[in-house]
Amino acid sequence: MKRLFPILSVVTAVLLAYALYLALVVAPTDAQQGDVYRIIYYHVPSAWTAFLLFLINFVSSIVYLIRRNPKADMLALVCAEVGVVFCTVVLVTGPIWARPVWGIWWAPGDIRLTSTLVMWLIYVSYLVLRRFSTSAQTQILAAALAVFGALDVPLVYFSIWFFRTQHPQPVIGGGGSMDPRMLHVLLINWLAFLCFAFLVCWSRFRLELLHREVEEAHAMQSLAGDGVGARASVPLSRSQK
């Protein structure tokens, strides 16, 4: 198991490099947008990865609420955090793509980007709750919030969708079908980013295990009657270090 991580890291790095090569060199130039459209090869896979991570967060949170399995809770936290990182990438690359193509940074009726923004806000609030909660049962509160957040996502999507039909606005990233060669490059990039996301989540998971180990050690020390240990255990917030 220990050796798997470095091997996977090398594979992922190679895959990412290959995917980048495909995106920049091999993929055909778009007829309308020129070369700028190649942002799609980073923008869309990041979005798909973020959605997947948030979905895993939703499922783990439900599992945690039903079974109180601590590993489920850790998985939820990890996926939320890494998901927010990928979501940030989506929100930054989106406007960077929109500006040269549409002349605007942001269109409020752009259903995909706006829904992504709301998702980002929801999961950041989830992470804030986890950091700021002083309850002994932060995990349960966070799991409940995760359920609320996930229920909200389709509502966000449809509310913006209807708003758009009454106030037509440009869709950044375009719609419609895709050249199969472009789709192929897109999927390879997604695969590369999925592997990368997996590695990051694995690392974050190990970090969380270490964090809980340290917390336990602190607790043991306080119980052992060591006054120094009790004092030192205060700064560690619940599960966000």
Partner: protein, 225 residues
């Protein structure tokens, strides 16, 4: 089911009686609502042609801030007197407590809205171009959407640092579809440009989904404190 409602109404009546006796919170919040309307009147020119287009948004943002101020003290009394511990130990259904609080907040925020609306109408010279009766379901469903989640998140925020900021921080992102529905629906009715039906359905769906979620998870939250 019967006992749930009896308990809810009893708790609600108690809360109303207590609020009415103290009146402090009531009065300060009424004044806060008035201030918000006045500040908005200064910030956004009410004489502009497009005022009807933005009034919907302004009204609901004002309601949102007033609601957050009201929601923040939802559980304050319970916290002071260890009522929550008593509730956890008693066999009473937790949802009765939640419903009572949510309904109390709903009544209170509705009173604030009823007071702020004429002020907005006056400052912004509003007259409704679309079917005015549709504003009633929008107001009811929209207010309930804010209040039901707000009451729930207020309970979740009880044991957090910076409790007062935690409530809006959790509430606002989740409320975005509802806010969109309220604002777009109100604007649609005010301007008469578009039908507001879908927004009413959206708000109704939102209310059903999240009322169910709150009722389903409140007991878990209560015991998690």
């Amino acid at each position: 089911m019967n006992s749930l409602w009896t308990l809810t109404l009893a708790t609600l009546k108690k809360d109303i009686r207590l609020e009415w006796r103290s009146k402090d919170a009531l009065n300060s919040m009424l004044f806060f609502s008035l201030l918000v309307v006045v500040i908005f009147a200064f910030a956004f020119d009410p004489l502009a042609e497009e005022s009807r287009h933005i009034a919907g948004g302004l009204i609901w943002v004002a309601f949102l801030f007033a609601a957050v101020v009201a929601l923040n003290q939802t559980w304050a009394r319970e916290l002071r007197n260890q009522v929550l511990d008593a509730y956890r130990v008693s066999p009473a259904p937790a949802n009765a407590l939640f419903l009572a609080k949510a309904l109390g907040n709903f009544l209170f925020v509705s009173v604030l809205e009823a007071l702020m609306t004429p002020l907005f109408v006056v400052f912004y010279n509003l007259h409704v171009l679309g079917p005015a009766w549709q504003l009633i379901p929008i107001a009811i469903l929209g207010t309930w959407a804010l209040v039901v989640n707000g009451t729930f998140f207020a309970a979740m925020s009880l044991r957090t640092r910076s409790r007062e900021i935690m409530l809006p921080l959790l509430l606002f992102p989740i409320s975005i579809p509802a806010v969109l529905g309220m604002v777009a629906g109100t604007t649609a009715v005010l301007t008469g440009d578009n039908p507001a039906h879908f927004y009413i359905v959206l708000l109704l769906t939102y209310d059903v989904v999240f009322t169910t979620a709150c009722l389903g998870l409140f007991e878990t939250i209560l015991h998690a404190e």
